[in-house]
């Protein structure tokens, strides 16, 4: 009986291919690592500076490895640092941002889901035109609407208030949330709606019992998108609010422009990080759902 040997001995072609593969991989990862380092460097500098002592920063310059380690700058930036006379740190502005971003995100997402539901499942004469008009909002830069908003907030008595910013972000965000939800709902088969109608369910019951339970993938996308967008938004915050009412993005500018004493780079770094933390956390924990929700249809 013939023995079949699985170990066919040395195959020079296979060995060359393996070597080739190894070097290819090595090169790819080397380049990726380099670029990752370039992109991460500024963040790293800020993180280091938030942990270094101000005196050390002054001595060794902004870009340098930390020789000291302390969290005082974080505490100061959060609660006690003085900006134009008030010594409350960023705390209040942080909560301003939270009370602006959370309601604006929830409301604009819900409205977007309802719009998407109507525009995909209850089409009417002109609904496509309406959808296309709403899409215009996606491409409209924020500064175009500064004047109208100033007028409207003035009329409503919502200037220099978080409510005003909530209103702005809800309205400005509806285009995006509607686009996301409508495109997601289009992939839900119409037969489901027809079956539900025969089953006696109406507009709202179909929305609550059939559409919403299918929606988590896209709702996660819109929530992440809206929350990070609204949190990081700066223009409306700086134009329509001031001082105690400002969201953290606008307040950070006030911090740097304070100019009373020598610049406290440690506190500034910590403040910037505090301002960046919520979107960063959302990215860390929700990033994979974001990609999944965007690429996956309603039904697997």
């Amino acid at each position: 009986m013939a023995e079949i040997s699985l170990n066919a001995g040395h195959d020079p072609e296979a060995a060359a291919a393996t070597r080739q593969y190894f070097w290819n991989r090595f090169l790819i990862y080397a380049v990726l690592t380099l670029f990752a380092a370039i992109y991460l460097a500024p963040l790293l500098v800020v993180v280091f500076n938030s942990l270094r002592e101000q005196s050390e920063i002054a001595r060794n310059g902004l870009i340098s490895l930390p020789r000291s380690f302390r969290l005082d700058a974080w505490a100061e930036a959060w609660g006690t640092y003085c900006v134009s006379g008030t010594c409350e740190g960023m705390k209040r502005n942080f909560f301003n941002s939270l009370w602006m971003a959370i309601p604006a995100t929830v409301i604009s997402t819900l409205l977007g889901a309802m719009n998407g539901y109507v525009l995909s499942k209850w089409r009417f004469k002109g609904s496509e035109i309406l959808f296309n008009l709403m899409l215009l909002g996606v491409f409209m830069p924020g500064q175009i609407s500064l004047m109208p908003w100033a007028f409207l907030l003035g009329k409503l008595g919502l200037t220099n208030s978080t409510y005003g910013l909530v209103l702005i972000h809800v309205v400005q965000g509806i285009s995006f949330t509607t686009l996301f939800c409508r495109n997601f709902y289009v992939s839900i088969p119409d037969d489901l709606i027809k079956a539900a109608r025969i089953d006696g369910a109406g507009f709202w019951r179909i929305f609550r019992k059939i559409i919403l339970p299918l929606s988590p993938p896209i709702l996660i996308v819109t929530v992440i998108w809206q929350f990070t967008g609204i949190w990081n938004e700066y223009l409306f915050g700086v134009v329509f609010t001031s001082g105690q009412q400002q969201p953290i993005t606008a307040a950070l500018v006030a911090l740097t422009a304070g100019g009373t004493t020598a610049r406290a780079y440690d506190v500034m770094s910590a403040a910037v990080l505090i301002g960046a933390l919520p979107p960063l956390l959302i990215y860390l924990f929700g990033g994979k759902y974001f990609v999944r929700g965007l690429t996956q249809g309603a039904l697997k």
Partner: protein
């Protein structure tokens, strides 16, 4: 008493006419199949009966109620979709109870109804699962369960078996037939599969290009198709159409393979005013190998010669492609009297089962 009556129903989208004057009715307990090629309007018609499409003009009556502008949920109907349309986030039980829940049926009654339907369809063990965890056949059952639980006046099926594989389709077909016998509900069943229509329906409406070509029992549709479209659509392999010429009041001549004319005597004289040129329609199973014995058993059999071009044995029967003039026709033979390739066979054509059509109007003579 009729459960469904449709009178002169029209549907158009803009200038495009989808349905052109449909008249149809279903007696209580009847199983009506709407069959036709894709695009013939059968699914639109069903959607209009369900109330999912608006009526352009005409009337739809369910029982003694004109339902043209009645909401789907108030029409006392239930529908099974081709895609099953099971609610993906709900369990089988929730799928079945969703309709009752919407209507505010008390919990105890819901429980009772689920039990009854689950037992009827043998899906008790599936009640806790989600549709995604079911096989095609199981989904089909659940979809039927969701319809059955309503106990509606009218059942609507929209190509319910199209998504199943061939074997399962035959099984489910049998089940649907059994189920219909057991519950006896009036049913309208849309299909493009003429075999499904033939096997299930008590009456078939054959549709083409937005109108009903013939509405009759399966037997009448098969034996006496009202025109060449119905004749060609129903039956597989399809009916053979052979151009022929009247040579007397009861005889026609068709062209044989060698160009000579073969005279066939008709079983019954044609009505007065029939055109000189006609189309002879013969189903493959009405073509035999001619013997004197056959002639004795079936006196209407007429004989002619035809070369055999191709033979396709399927086991139960053997299909043979035969040459007639410049046409090819198909004959269906018992395997033990099947012709062999290259043979010139003497055919026996059962003229009592043959149909004659007017070649210009395509209508049955």
């Amino acid at each position: 008493m009729s459960t469904l009556t449709i009178r002169n129903l029209h549907k158009s989208y803009g200038g495009l006419e989808i349905l052109a004057g449909i008249n149809l009715e279903a007696q209580t307990g009847e199983f009506v199949a709407l069959v036709g090629p894709s695009g013939c309007g059968k699914s639109t018609l069903l959607a209009m009966i369900a109330g999912l499409e608006t009526v352009t003009s005409g009337e739809i009556w369910i029982g003694d109620r004109l339902v043209n502008s009645v909401q789907p949920k108030d029409r006392d109907i239930a529908m099974v979709f081709q895609s099953y349309a099971l609610y993906p986030t709900m369990t089988v039980r929730e799928n079945i109870t969703f309709g009752m829940e919407s209507r505010g049926v008390p919990k105890a009654a819901q429980e009772e109804a689920v039990k009854r339907v689950a037992a009827l369809l043998q899906i008790e063990q599936l009640l806790k699962r989600k549709p995604g965890q079911l096989s095609g056949g199981q989904r089909q059952r659940v979809a039927m369960g969701r319809a059955l639980v309503r106990d509606p006046k009218l059942f609507l099926f929209d190509e319910p078996l199209s998504n199943l594989d061939a074997k399962l389709r035959v099984d489910m077909r049998t089940e649907i037939k059994k189920l219909h016998h057991r519950v006896g509900k009036t049913t309208v069943y849309v299909t493009h599969d003429q075999v499904e229509a033939m096997t299930l329906a008590s009456r078939i409406a054959v549709m083409n290009q937005g109108s009903v070509q013939q509405f009759d029992t399966p037997k009448r549709i098969y034996d006496r198709p009202t025109n060449m479209f119905v004749a060609g659509f129903m039956g597989s392999p399809a009916m053979n159409f052979v151009p022929a010429r009247l040579t007397g009041s009861t005889s026609i001549s068709v062209r044989a393979a060698d160009g000579s004319g073969a005279t066939l005597t008709l079983a019954a004289p044609l009505p007065a005013g029939a055109p000189k040129d006609v189309v002879l329609g013969v189903r493959p199973e009405h073509i035999y190998r001619f013997t004197t014995d056959l002639k004795a058993r079936k006196p209407a059999v007429e004989s002619m010669q035809a070369p055999v071009e191709l033979v396709e044995p399927t086991g139960a029967e053997t299909l043979a492609v035969l040459r007639l003039g410049d046409l090819e026709i198909t004959g269906r033979f018992e395997p033990d009297e099947a012709p062999v390739m290259g043979e010139t066979i003497t055919l026996g054509i059962d003229m009592s089962r043959a149909c004659l059509f007017d070649p210009t109007t395509k209508a049955l003579l």
